[in-house]
């Protein structure tokens, strides 16, 4: 992996600053690829075909929403509740777009492509940079690298998943474990922590009483914590 990064960097003859961005972005992409494998396995074990899993990753391309849809269906939820919970999560990419619009330049066509790459990782990596040029570079390199690895991982997982019992390897717990890692940074802010705890409790309390998947949507009420100033 690091060899590949080194070769890429030499080829592109980058400044040290950009070189750092490239290493971090490609490494992050590879990590997300592992997640892609978990998604591929999950989609197939929830009854999807290899093609459906791959088309989902190519077109939807926002991990948490894809996982949510698959997990709701797998738990016996309806298509309607899978779509609504998944879309509630997808709404945050719109928020990321608002942030990124200040840092990205270019034509409408370029922005329409950038939109597809506006996700957790690309936004997080871009906003961690200090100057405009690095921000834009970090956004594009991270977005493209995550896109590549996420789809590659999905393909591998979907093919492997057909011949795999996920419970034997604890893969059914890999998903919530991955979610834990994704949500952890949010728990380091006071409002994030409060919204997380309330959301989790709402979900726990509503599970026995509402159709599968709807408890996730109910937890969305917890975002009203934001009315309070941090």
């Amino acid at each position: 992996m690091s060899n590949l990064v080194a070769v890429l960097e030499r080829q592109l003859d980058l400044s040290p600053e950009l070189r750092r961005v490239v290493s971090a972005s490609v490494t992050l992409g590879a990590v997300v690829g592992v997640f892609g494998i978990v998604f591929g396995v999950g989609a197939v074990s929830a009854g999807g075909s290899v093609l459906q899993a791959c088309v989902m990753s190519l077109l939807v391309f926002t991990g948490a929403s894809q996982f949510t849809a698959v997990s709701v269906i797998d738990g016996g939820g309806t298509t309607g509740s899978a779509i609504s919970s998944s879309m509630l999560l997808a709404a945050r990419n719109g928020v990321y777009g608002l942030t990124m619009a200040r840092h990205l330049e270019g034509s409408v066509a370029r922005r329409l492509i950038a939109a597809q790459l506006t996700i957790d990782e690309s936004t997080a990596m871009a906003t961690a940079q200090t100057d405009r040029r690095s921000r834009s570079a970090a956004f594009w390199i991270t977005g493209l690298s995550v896109y590549l690895f996420w789809n590659l991982g999905t393909l591998i997982g979907a093919i492997a998943g057909s011949s795999l019992n996920p419970e034997t390897y604890g893969l059914d717990a890999a998903l919530p474990a991955g979610f834990v890692a994704m949500v952890a940074p949010h728990f380091f802010t006071p409002n994030g922590r409060l919204a997380g705890v309330i959301g989790g409790l709402i979900c726990l309390v509503t599970i026995p009483f509402v159709p599968v998947g709807l408890s996730i949507l109910c937890a969305g009420v917890a975002v009203l914590v934001g009315v309070r100033r941090p």
């Binding site: 077109l59 269906i73 939109a115 604890g170 059914d172 979610f179 834990v180």
Partner: protein, 103 residues
Amino acid sequence: MSEISWMLVLVLAAGAYVFKVLGLVVIGAHKLPDVVDRCLILIPAALITALVVKDTFSVGQELVLDARALGVGAATAAAWRRAPLVVVIVIGAAVTAAARAIS
């Protein structure tokens, strides 16, 4: 019980892209009221935590306590200590598998 249909795949694809375009291209650098911003930013915290609860403690509409609770508990401890993503996932899966093998 429903299944993963092409309708589901395509609605998700269209919906996800609409949100992305809405933020980056349509609204763009226009400013939303602060209070809306503050609420929207909390969506991942609330919803992802809810997903963790659902995937760990339920089967369908039933609340259960099984090997997954141990695995996800261990994963939470790892995430709390800021372990990398892959490490957290591997710990979650391995502890769950081990707990199942023993019981």
